[in-house]
Symmetry: C2
Subunit: 191 residues, 2 copies
């Protein structure tokens, strides 16, 4: 069960709690942005991921800045956004963006369970190379991937303790496209 | 002058210092992810932005969580990525992603100077609604936008003190597309 909350969102009119919309966004977004904390400095890294069992799964090196931060400071935020387009307006200050975005808050940790790691990697292949493999992921592949002698890669899980989501819906008649002008919009309004 | 460094990047073979490539990425990316710190919790918010005078400019509310965090804890990271596509491989563990990404590190603060705010907003309109307005931004618009009686909006500047960038170039012959299969790739290799 996704814990979608509107707590802490200033513009409550943009907050959404539609689990289906959030689920769709998390399943279709190809890149998410993992935020971590390094003392008083934030660190934001773009990652492929899969939304699986109410968690964000990513994989990556067991060494390096990101891995160190995750073990020292496990509180994480994972943000995805679908920018639909720019909403034009004859008044510049009213130019706006149509989008759907979600933030997943929780703690991130290495997945130690082999079956869980396999399942997450399978879901990831299914997302990024759908139909490429004609057989399910061979467990030997996973083993060599996450625990092979030369491997320094791990699967990480961010359990979604809290999710917030925002949507500014598109306004089809006002979406910007190349060639659209304020002049033509004003003339159109006068007719 | 952009201070592009490879410091702290584990995979040095992916690090790039090509200022032209980084500049192009920062100018063409429509959404960037601003990372802030809230105690021991990271906060990552997707934003439209403009890369202008070696700085990231964004605009947004003067109130709310993001605004509070920026004034309490000005160290920020702004990350953009261009995901080119997935590189398929008959060996699942060798599936990879082609991308170009950049992280801009620095302090973020409200732009107090009116001319600087105007210039940033003009650059932003030029980026998101190119050609829409037939006249330059009227200063009255900016004034009502950033300091009008009913306005609670500010322009923020993240001065790029340090930039890191990474690239995993595409491998055209192995990029995944819907319908591509491992079986066909292996048969092709055998010929």
């Amino acid at each position: 069960m996704m814990n979608i909350t509107t707590d802490g969102i200033r513009k409550q009119n943009l907050a959404i709690t539609d689990a289906t919309a959030v689920d769709h966004l998390l399943r279709t977004s190809r890149v998410g942005y993992l935020g971590l904390v390094d003392g008083d400095e934030p660190y934001v890294v773009p990652l492929n991921f899969v939304w699986h069992s109410d968690s964000i799964y990513v994989h990556g090196a067991q060494y390096g800045r990101k891995a160190n931060l995750m073990s020292n400071s496990p509180k994480a935020t994972f943000t995805v956004a679908d920018e639909v387009g720019t909403i034009a307006h004859p008044v510049p200050a009213k130019t706006d963006t149509a989008y759907l975005s979600a933030m997943v808050f929780g703690k991130i940790a290495v997945v130690e369970d082999f079956d869980e790691a396999t399942s997450a990697l399978e879901a990831m292949l299914c997302k990024y190379v759908p139909g490429y493999y004609d057989t399910p992921l061979h467990s030997g592949h996973v083993r060599s991937y996450v625990s092979g002698a030369g491997s320094h890669v791990a699967v990480y899980r961010l359990r979604g303790e809290k999710i917030t989501a925002k949507e500014n819906p598109n306004q089809m008649s006002m979406m910007f496209y190349p060639g659209r002008t304020r002049k033509a919009d004003l003339q159109h309004d006068q007719k």
